[in-house]
């Protein structure tokens, strides 16, 4: 029994001492593999509105671009929850549309029918936030 106990102790205790030694050594030697300070690589890319993305400043003379933000049914300007623009650009678009309408570049109550087939920048049926109506 005493022999068994001695054997058991040998088996159990020797590896512990070994692992301790190994761990101690590894921290000293393998410093190349230590953690590196870096930015979170999984952060998502910042979303930008379409006008900021392509760096476009809306202008009242460019009424073709502005007409894309106008409803083809009523000629009214789509809201920010539909166009997906940032606050600044939406305000600029609205300001320039009123200017263009005032200068008779753009109609008030309808959209110019020659611009009906222009590419759609957004889908009025799928707003970012739900409609008020």
């Amino acid at each position: 029994m005493a022999l068994m106990k001695r054997l058991f102790l040998k088996i159990v205790y020797t590896p512990r001492a070994l692992t301790y030694n190994v761990r101690h050594l590894s921290t000293e030697v393998a410093h190349d593999d230590s953690p590196v300070e870096m930015e979170n690589p999984f952060t998502k890319e910042k979303r930008q509105c379409i006008l900021c993305k392509f760096n476009i400043t809306p202008d009242y003379k460019n009424y073709r671009l502005l007409s894309q933000f106008q409803s083809p049914y009523t000629g009214r300007i789509y809201g920010r929850h539909i166009t997906g623009l940032c606050q600044t650009k939406q305000a600029a678009v609205e300001r320039e549309i009123t200017k263009a309408q005032n200068c008779a570049y753009m109609p008030y109550y309808y959209k110019d029918k020659t611009f009906f087939k222009d590419p759609k920048l957004f889908d009025p049926e799928n707003p970012i936030r739900s409609h008020r109506f």
Partner: protein
């Protein structure tokens, strides 16, 4: 001298007359000490809505943009002069937009309401005000009558 843009809508007319009209408009600016940087012709096209000017109804017109530099005090003079010009259907003067560096704030605007700064400010303001549903009138406020309907 600040920069302005004059959007001029000139009635449809033959080239020779148009040239005279443009000369007249330009001379109005030069006479008042202004300068013209550029004259842009946006072409002859139908108006989006019919416009009556000087007793005539116009459905087509020629569009011009004058980029000018003048004194601010001159602008109203110019407007007044062109309002009397029978060839000018409509005229608008705008100050040239200044280029401004602006970073897109869409990301912060799409956050849930509790994280948006403007919503946080609204909540803060609401908390600083008296809740008129829960507020109880105290009788020892100095008034010797009850100010509300019982």
């Amino acid at each position: 001298m600040p920069s302005y843009e004059m959007a001029m809508i000139i009635r449809a007319m033959p080239k020779v007359e148009l040239k005279n009209a443009l000369m007249r408009i330009s001379n109005g600016i030069f006479d008042r000490g202004g300068i013209i940087r550029k004259i842009e012709n946006l072409g002859y096209r139908p108006l989006p809505y019919k416009t009556s000017a000087h007793g005539l109804v116009h459905k087509e017109a020629i569009f011009f943009v004058f980029k000018i530099d003048t004194a601010t005090t001159v602008v109203s003079d110019l407007k007044e002069e062109y309002s009397r010009d029978v060839d000018v259907v409509r005229q608008r003067v705008f100050k040239v937009n200044e280029e401004s560096e602006h970073a897109c704030t869409l990301e912060t605007e799409l956050l849930p309401p509790a994280y948006r700064k403007e919503v946080q400010e609204m909540i803060k303001m609401g908390k600083s005000q008296v809740n008129r549903f829960r507020h109880k009138f105290s009788y020892n406020s100095g008034l010797d009558y009850y100010p509300f309907q019982k």
